[in-house]
Every structure is written in structure tokens, then in C-alpha cells.
Symmetry: C2
Subunit: 433 residues, 2 copies
């Protein structure tokens, strides 16, 4: 970003040395990355960008946002406003994201302006719209839960009944060879309903047992996707990073444990996952990244199912095209973190080694509890476990809000897991010593 840096005024004094040519050569040509969204993902991406020597610009809603507290060059503005986005993009070599909420039309307009948007809108829409995502995954033969868009509660009942007739629609027919999910028995209920846009942390997801219960999902006025309720063994995530020139790396497949629809614990690698299923999950994620033209980090949330013959099946739940909660363990547990590799990808730099540094790494989210000042607990956890890696987001504590996470690693999974659990619970205030 020769121009932006020159504009930033750093060359003024140097030019007066009277060496105009050498001067331009001496200009720092490390690029400027613009991140849209001031949440903890942007905060941790900035942290990972410091050693890369890249410069950051942040578009944040407020100066108090998690990332806005730590980034030097912050623009306060509304990402829903195209002119704000345009002005922001002018100082950047590439634009990437903390969240998936920027309207597709705006991103297309930026691309038309010549801005490098990574991931691009054509890929990103699959992480923004669960309906588009399901349709595209069907097209490329990636196994998904049985699903279709439903019009109203009566249509949900029809969807449930369709499931009783064999559940062949969409499930288990992937060319990549993953097994099919277990289809809901009896009435075809429960059914999972999801607003196709705007959901996160389980908001926008309903598990319904009848037409009556289905009403809520339609009230937002957003199209609703119905899915069979998969009887999964556990949830996994296959995380990969892909760069514009097509290099890709795959992180070890992890187990992701949700509590009340929110990610609670991630174990890397997923304990007891057979090598074949792990490789299949990585291949699935790499295929999706390639077919959808993803640039940057792609998290593929998966359901692990047990087929009738005892073999393992995999179904894709959803996609995220940015650093993801299921990859936070990489900060302390992998040679290259998801944040560093996301940046390397969006800058089209060669990717870093995704392999683990420890036998086991466990991440536990720190949720806000009733007691708002965490500093005392923070101190206690550090004293109790000098190896603990705490990552705080600088956010005010609100009950249930993600305000940080902890990573632990080591050779003994139950010990590593207990340490992470203890720290997360203690910080939340769920346990005393």
C-alpha cells in the first residue's frame, strides 16, 4: 500500500533529504489490512498481525468494542452504509472481516470499485445465508442434514412427514462418501428451524416438536430453513485456510462441545476420531473451500453420526469464513494460529504450518457470570496454574456473554481438560476453589 503509507505522512521528512528515488524505495511496502467489525476476532487478528509487520485499519461500531481498544487506526462507522465502507476501503490493500454481517450488495459494490475483498462476496454469501449454503453444498455433493426452506408452520409439518418417508432428500448422498445422518423417527418431529440469516450462538435456531411451536421462527420475517434433527454423537469442526493462489492448509479436526447452543469447549484433536474420518472431514473442508472460492480461514461445523453398521458418518452443519471459536486453541496449540494464517491467506502470503505443538490442546470459553469484575478471579487462575493461557477480550461482563477463553495443553487429556474447565468456571464464578 505504497500510496496509503505515503499519505500517512511518513515520507515527508525523508523526501527533504533530496533523494526522491531512493526515497520511494525506502517506503515501507508492507500492506494495510482493513478489518470490518470490532469484536474479539478482530482483536486477536490484530494481535497476530503485529509480528507480520502488516498495518491494520479497523471499522468498528464504537470505540469501546473489543478490537477498537487495541488497534491503532480505528474508524468508527456503520458497516451497513456503503459510503462508510468505501471511505474505509480507500486506505486498505485488502478488506477482511470480524463477522459475516456486511450486506452482499455492498461487498459487490466494493469489488466493482476494485477493492480486494477476502473472502469475496460470492464465497461469503454461503456463510451469511444458510439457505444458499445448503443449496450449494447439495450441488457439490457435500453431505448435509435433510433440509429445505419452509413457508409456514403447516409446511414444517409436511417437512417432518417427508422425513418419515425415508429421509433421502439431501442427507448422506455426498460424493465425498460420508455416511448419512440418523433420520428422526415417529412423527418426523422434532425438526430444527433456522432463520437463514442473522443467527449466531444458537440465536435464530429452534428445535420444534409441533406446528404450534414452529410459529416463533417465522416471526422475524426472514426465510426459514427446516432441517432434520440430527441424532449426532458429537460435533466436530474441520478448519482450513486457503489463499487466493490456491494454497491450502488443514488444521487437525477438533471436537466442539456446545452448551445451550453456545460453544463451550474445544478439544484438539478430536479424541478417538479414527484417522479415516479425520482425513475425510479435512477433505470435505478443503473441497468446500475450493468449490466456493473461499479465501482465508474456513470453519466447517460438522455432526459426527453413528451409522447403522457402526461406521462413522459426517454431516455439515454450517460454515464460517473468518477465524472461528473452534480454532482459538491454535493460538497456543498449533505452530501457526488461525489468526496468523487467516491474515497470510488474505494477503496471499505463503501459509504457515497448521500442525499441533502439543499432544492435546483444550480451549474453554469464558462466559460472563453474575459477578462483573473478573480481575480477582483472573489473578487467582494465574496463580493456580502458571501454564494457563488466558485470552481476555476487554469486554464488559454480561451474563452468558463470551468475554474470553482459556487454552491449556499437555500430554494427559483429562488433566488438560480439567485445567481448562476449572479456569473457565472459576472466571465465570460458577465455582469457588
Amino acid at each position: 500500500m505504497l500510496e496509503a503509507f505515503m499519505l500517512a505522512g511518513a515520507s515527508g521528512t525523508r523526501r527533504s533529504r533530496g533523494e526522491p528515488c531512493a526515497d520511494i524505495l525506502k517506503t515501507v511496502t508492507f500492506p494495510v489490512v482493513g478489518i470490518i467489525g470490532g469484536g474479539q476476532l478482530a482483536r486477536m487478528t490484530h494481535e497476530a498481525g503485529i509480528p507480520l509487520g502488516v498495518r491494520f485499519k479497523l471499522l468498528s461500531d464504537t470505540p469501546q468494542d473489543s478490537a477498537a481498544q487495541v488497534v491503532g487506526d480505528v474508524v468508527i462507522g456503520d458497516y451497513r452504509d456503503l459510503e462508510t465502507l468505501r471511505a474505509f476501503a480507500r486506505g486498505c490493500d485488502v478488506i477482511t472481516f470480524d463477522h459475516e454481517h456486511v450486506p452482499t450488495a455492498h461487498l459487490l459494490a466494493l469489488e466493482a470499485d476494485g477493492v480486494a475483498v477476502r473472502p469475496g462476496p460470492a464465497a461469503l454469501v454461503h456463510a451469511q445465508d444458510k439457505g444458499v449454503m445448503r443449496a450449494r453444498l447439495d450441488e457439490i455433493g457435500v453431505p448435509c442434514p435433510r433440509h429445505r426452506i419452509v413457508a409456514d408452520p403447516a409446511d414444517v409439518v409436511r417437512f417432518a412427514e417427508e422425513g418419515m418417508q425415508g429421509g433421502v432428500v439431501g442427507a448422506g448422498s455426498g460424493v465425498v462418501g460420508a455416511g448419512s445422518g440418523v433420520v428422526g423417527a415417529g412423527s418426523g418431529f422434532p425438526v430444527v428451524l433456522k432463520t437463514v440469516r442473522g443467527g449466531y450462538d444458537g440465536k435464530g435456531v429452534w428445535i420444534v416438536g409441533s406446528a404450534e411451536e414452529a410459529g416463533d421462527a417465522f416471526r422475524a420475517g426472514v426465510p426459514v430453513l427446516a432441517e432434520e434433527k440430527v441424532d449426532f454423537v458429537r460435533e466436530l469442526a474441520a478448519n482450513v485456510v486457503r489463499s487466493p493462489h490456491g494454497q491450502a492448509v488443514a488444521y487437525p479436526v477438533v471436537e466442539s462441545i456446545q452448551v445451550n447452543g453456545v460453544c463451550d469447549t474445544v478439544i484438539a484433536p478430536a479424541p478417538g476420531l479414527d484417522g479415516e474420518s479425520a482425513a475425510l472431514a479435512q477433505r470435505l473442508a478443503l473441497t468446500i473451500a475450493k468449490e466456493l472460492g473461499v479465501v482465508g480461514h474456513l470453519a466447517v461445523e460438522l455432526f459426527e453420526t453413528r451409522n447403522d453398521d457402526g461406521t462413522t458418518g459426517l454431516l455439515v452443519n454450517e460454515l464460517a469464513m473468518r477465524p472461528h471459536n473452534s480454532g482459538h486453541w491454535t493460538q497456543d496449540g498449533a505452530i501457526t494460529s488461525q489468526f496468523a494464517n487467516h491474515l497470510r491467506a488474505v494477503l496471499d502470503l505463503p501459509l504457515g504450518d497448521p500442525r499441533p505443538r502439543a499432544k492435546w490442546t483444550v480451549m474453554a470459553n469464558v462466559l460472563g457470570g453474575d459477578y462483573p469484575n473478573m480481575y480477582g478471579a483472573f489473578l487467582h487462575c494465574m496463580a493456580r496454574d502458571p501454564q494457563l493461557k488466558i485470552h481476555m477480550y476487554g469486554k464488559d461482563v454480561k451474563p452468558g456473554r463470551k468475554v474470553g477463553h482459556v487454552n491449556t495443553y499437555g500430554d494427559d487429556l483429562s488433566e488438560v481438560r480439567a485445567r481448562a474447565r476449572h479456569a473457565a468456571d472459576y472466571l465465570r464464578g460458577t465455582i469457588d476453589e
Copy 2:
């Protein structure tokens, strides 16, 4: 730093909820750390502070300084001006440093104002003034090269002659039991001359063979310290971190290789160092930290000597009371980096585990070369070695200037060292592929 945060305006909207008491409790009480100096040490300290959730304020000479590029809350000002320091300190819970150049009188004035300055001026003066440092180390019985303050070139000749009479002054008399250095033979020359203040990267250090050559050292008008030229086997560093309540941790002792007076390579742990000498070096550093009342990271630069009977001797070269180049390997090679532990210490938080994560970690400094744009080389190095950890400082390239460093780690020292060497040389432009 309740007050500073409230002033920052975050509580305005919350107060309107009409819960004045709960409101104050909900205020983020994570502290604000003020760093004086905008160099790469402040940059990397900021990076390490992000996961700790602490807030940063930076006092920097210019907005282009290494740390000023990445920190959110930057004050541009002169650290030699007391009123600037006072205004800066008002927004901070604690003040720490990127460099050792803040005048002692100013730090004493800040302390008198009630500011927490860590390390405090009484400790810091030993890292600022090599004369004060030598006098104090003699007092507490820490082995140093033979030394004394010299008045003029004729006095340097006398110092050299004193060395021929047995070299007992100051050398090898440490109560902690380290061996004595090898004293210069013949004329007593060469002698090492150092300005007691203001030196860095070998600037302010002269090795002189005669009275004539001694002239330069006196021209700055700063008192000059003469030292025997130690015939060392190699240079080591013993790095420790100490907190106000007296907790301390010791990193593995490292070998530090200087080229032209500038740190070039650091190997952790120091290869072939016997356990007894390593423990002695750590004990020396812990003793110094305690006796001098150091808070934060203390680097003790050491000379390893070979005694006549073949045993290993240790002499202290100098002290640094801040994160130090000999500790950069800890970012990727230790459980807790020197930067994180420095912050934990100045905040009086429990310290993190200093133990290594790999059998060998090697750090090589990236110096500026003749070719000013490093980005192409940067890309090449990433592609060649996906495990390489590059740390760039965002500084313009000038020949010989430290603009970054690389860390490598693994089980095979010669391979780990070769990878670091290659990357540093390639980035500098010394080698092609």
C-alpha cells in the same frame, strides 16, 4: 484504573439504566499500563498484553515509531520532559519502559507524585549507569570484570598496568562463587572503555590498545568506565522476572552471540552449559533482581570464562531492566514469553511458567541490508519454511538497523540454527537462495 476507564466514556450509556451501584461494579477494572518509548520492545509488549485484557497507553517520540503503529492510545511527546511524563502518567495505573533513557530525577518525581513506576528509579539506575551498576554488584559480591572509573587516557594506562599486578580488583571475588575472568596479559592492554550512560548495541564501547586510542571515549563528556578485556569463551544471558510481592521466575540460561557489538543469534538453552553453571547464572540473576529491587524482566548479560583448572567462570557484563533481545526466543519457545511475564510482574499478577516448549529455540536478529524493501524476501522465507516465526517491527530498513527477528525451534540444534540463520540472512539480503 476505575477513573480512567470511566473518563473514557464507556459508562455513559450504562448509567442511564438507572443502576448506579451495579453500574460501578460492572466497570472494567482491568488496569492501564503506560509504556514509555515506542520501539519494538513496546510493540511486542503490547502484543503480549492483548490476551491479558490490560489497556495500553504509549508515550512515543513520533507516530511512526514501531509501537506507535500498533497501539491504540498513543501520546506523542518527549520522555525527557517531566510535565509530559506527568500528564501521561495520569491515565495509567502503572508505568513501565521500552528503554532505559528516562532521567532518574523525573522518575523520582513521578514516584513522589504517587505513580507506580516499575521498575522503580532506584533499581533502574543500575541499568542506566554502568558505573553505578559495577559499584553495586561489587557491594553485593557479584563477580564482574576488573573495572574502575577512569579520568583520562593517562589513567587508562594506569588501569592497564594495575591489571598486570594480578588483576584482583573486582574480578572473581563474588560471594556467589563464580570463577574469575582471565586477565589481559603483557602491557595490560587491550582495555575496554565504556561511557557509563547512553550506550547501546556496542555504541559507547571501545576496545583500546593504547593511551592514544583511548581519546575517543572521553570526547562525549560522560564518565568513562574501564574494564579488563575479558577473554571469554562465549556470552550468556540469565533472564529472570520479579514481581513487587517478590515472586520470581528464571528462564533457561541462553547463549548470546554478538556480531560487531550487536546481538546476532540467541540459542536457548545455552548448548553444553553444565547444570551447575546454569543454576549459578540463574541464582546470580535472581540475587541481583532481589538485591536491587527489580520489578519486571531483568536480563543479566554474562561472560562465560574458562578458569586455569578447566572449570567454568561467570562474570556479569551488564543489566537490562525490561524485555531484552536475549529473551525474544521466549515468544515462540517458552510457555510464557518475557513480554507477558514483564507485564504480569509490573501489574503484580502471578507470573507465568518460564519453561521452554521445545528442546532448542534459536532467535536470529534481522538487520537492515542494502535493499530496502523486505516484503519479497519475507514472502520467500515463509514459503521456504512454514514453521518459521517471523517478527517484524514495522521499521524502515536502514543498513545495520534491527528491523525484526526470527525464531525457530525443534529437536535438532544444527537444523534449527541453520533455519534461523538462513531466514535472517535472506531477509537482510546477505544471501540469495
